[in-house]
Symmetry: C2
Subunit: 413 residues, 2 copies
């Protein structure tokens, strides 16, 4: 890693329990990096159900197209993820590399190619030499173990400065189930483009349509509420694998997302995705501050979300936060440019508990010293109240520092 | 100015002729700066027609609201612009300051307050002390001269690194008319927000509705095609004043924007606005490269424009250009995230004449050395062909460098 570990990295790391039905191995295939793992293999028990959420890019990577197509066929027996090459914008060669990888993995796992799910992250536009998987996947399948979670998170890092993993438990009719997740955040390596990848595994027995509904819902308020630089990857992939192994311990198989017996699971899943999404923002390129933007009083939740994203993506707001400046003028600017209903003279803006503006002007009680002290913190809460309705949203981002420019622009100089 | 003159500044400066019916003065009102002019006064002959285009922000500044309201009443006798304070997000005090400024100016100019147009740029959220105009505007009106164009452009600078002004001529039925314009670009000063201001003056006799139509049309492909950081100001103002003084030299008064006798004027106006818009991009904060993004082959011009803006606002594309990296992968990403129709496998991307990608993959003839040589240039042309239709657009921007972060984030450190 060319950059030091983010100051916003976790201070403690979770112990990751096994997920019955899931085994993991990592390998060094030499796709691009030397001396580090770049392949993650996850073996999945027969009967594993799968849900996925993918990039909305109109130019998705070949692995994204593969996963989308195979999700509809049902069943998953293996997941193969590589770092070092995104296999994106690689034309017909990209599709061929995906098919070849799935074929190699299916032989290793003893399943059909369409039961293999794939993701790639790293260089864009370079053909991926899928033959490199030949040397490692059979060995991965033979030696996969239940407890290699930290290693799995490390194998998919690009310029992430720390591995991202989290765990939760929930009970379904009194039976405890496990949910483990790993993610990689917004890192780049020259001349590459970041991808956001996250994989979640559970032993809960949940039918695919319900699983997909739960994942889509939980994504809306977690990963879809994170932004580092507003640039959407061609490869964003979030998949949830449910092995159903908890059925052996008496957990009922559940068919409907709204079944009340899933309430605890849904909450735990949301909590897990929130944590992983927060780690992605906290490892945003060059980040020195973690920022939670809340918008209240909008005409709808969707309107609040668009305004919150306008604030969180504004380079002027983000550089002000980097400069530890409670610059609410730039927040007003970002509200105004969002194109959503807003009334300048009803706006109120707070940093933490410090209200800096109210009724469309500086708060008469504004205390510059208190605001400056607050802005020196590592975690910044920025709240805008529009005073128009009940719409609300919350998004996470980070500040914009010179290190972001160094990571993404300086490598040729 | 805390920053050195942009390397993209003009190498030569135009001689600005007088515009009959327009006189100019500048003054030091001490609104925020010391030792420099911060007020521009332009006196306008009786009968001057006015057109304006303003920020689309939902939170516009008080002067923007003033100009919008008075544009409908017709007639302009004076323009007053100050730097140092944007009078934005100042609540009721902002409206009061605008009314007071117009009242002072109307006494100086001998006209009604609604015939005074106003713009302010600088600090946001600070009340503007309009009484400071009392000391300078009468003197400005008494001593305004026809040839203070460079001084006028300097008086409205904030962190612009050079003054922006341009001139054109056109003929209307054989009579030559003048069009002069000044602008200020995207500069910031702590803790302020940039505003884009531009003012254009002509002696052509053109009725207000036609003038507004011409201005709106020419703006669509000039100022509305410039982006530095995607952050829309609360104060953006572009106004066109037509004194009609050329009628004394035999120019006919023209009522309709589509009158063929205005073809030359419309072309000259477009050319002038293009030049001013380009200077704004060339003085973008921290800019070291000027970038022209062209998108062809889209399903419509509007779709092409949205894709071009997605590219021009992408921090990853802009940092790659700063790093002199022909990173077409990031261009693909920006095309994909725009949400507009695109077919990855038909995309072609060129830097200058060097085609780097075709049919959704790297160009087989791609020459890394030639691309690197091209990227070291000061002016970069980036062209994307979508291969879908006839829609086309062109936008201007600049690269994203560490100096942008310094200007906007480092002032507290």
């Amino acid at each position: 890693m060319p950059y030091a570990v983010s100051p916003l990295a976790p201070k403690t790391w979770p112990d990751m329990p096994p997920v019955p039905g899931v085994t993991i191995a990592t390998a060094e295939a030499g796709i691009r990096y030397k001396g580090r793992t770049d392949v993650l293999y996850a073996g999945l028990a027969a009967g594993t159900e799968t849900a996925g959420v993918f990039t909305r890019s109109k130019c998705p990577s070949a692995p994204v197209e593969w996963c989308r197509a195979n999700l509809a066929r049902g069943g998953a027996r293996a997941l193969v993820v590589n770092s070092g090459n995104a296999n994106a914008f690689t034309g017909l060669k990209g599709s061929a590399a995906v098919a070849q990888t799935a074929e190699i993995a299916s032989r290793a796992a003893g399943c059909a190619p369409h039961e293999v799910f794939l993701a790639s992250t790293g260089v864009i536009g370079e053909p991926l030499d899928a033959s490199k998987f030949e040397a490692v996947l059979a060995n991965c399948a033979a030696n996969a173990v239940p407890d290699a979670w930290e290693a799995s998170a490390r194998a998919i890092m690009t310029t992430d400065t720390f591995p991202k993993y989290a765990t939760r438990t929930a009970t379904i009719e009194g039976v405890e189930v496990v949910i483990n997740g790993i993610a990689k955040g917004s890192g780049m390596i020259a001349p590459d483009m970041a991808t956001m990848l996250a994989f979640v595994f559970t032993d809960a027995p949940i039918a695919q349509p319900a699983l997909q509904t739960l994942l889509t819902r939980a994504t809306a308020t977690s990963f879809n509420c994170v932004t580092v630089d507003g640039d959407t990857s061609t490869s964003d992939t979030l998949m949830l694998f449910a092995t159903g192994a908890a059925a052996e311990r008496g957990a009922p198989r559940i068919e409907a997302a709204d079944d009340p017996r899933l309430a605890g699971f849904a909450a735990a899943l949301q909590d897990l995705l929130d944590e992983l999404a927060i780690w992605v923002a906290r490892d945003g390129e060059g980040a020195r501050k973690f920022v939670t933007v809340r918008v209240n009083g909008a005409t709808s939740d969707a309107s609040a979300h668009r305004i919150a994203m306008s604030i969180a993506n504004s380079p002027l707001v983000k550089t002000a936060i980097a400069g530890e400046d409670a610059n609410w003028g730039r927040v007003v600017m970002a509200v105004g440019k969002a194109g959503e209903p807003a009334d300048r003279d009803r706006l109120a803006i707070s940093f933490g508990d410090i209200r800096v503006a109210v009724n469309g002007a500086r708060d008469p009680d504004y205390d510059e010293a208190a605001a400056s002290a607050y802005m020196s913190r590592e975690d910044i809460d920025l709240t805008v109240d529009l005073g128009l309705g009940d719409g609300a949203a919350r998004v996470w981002t980070c500040d914009l520092t010179k290190t972001y420019i160094e990571i993404n622009g300086d490598y040729r100089s």
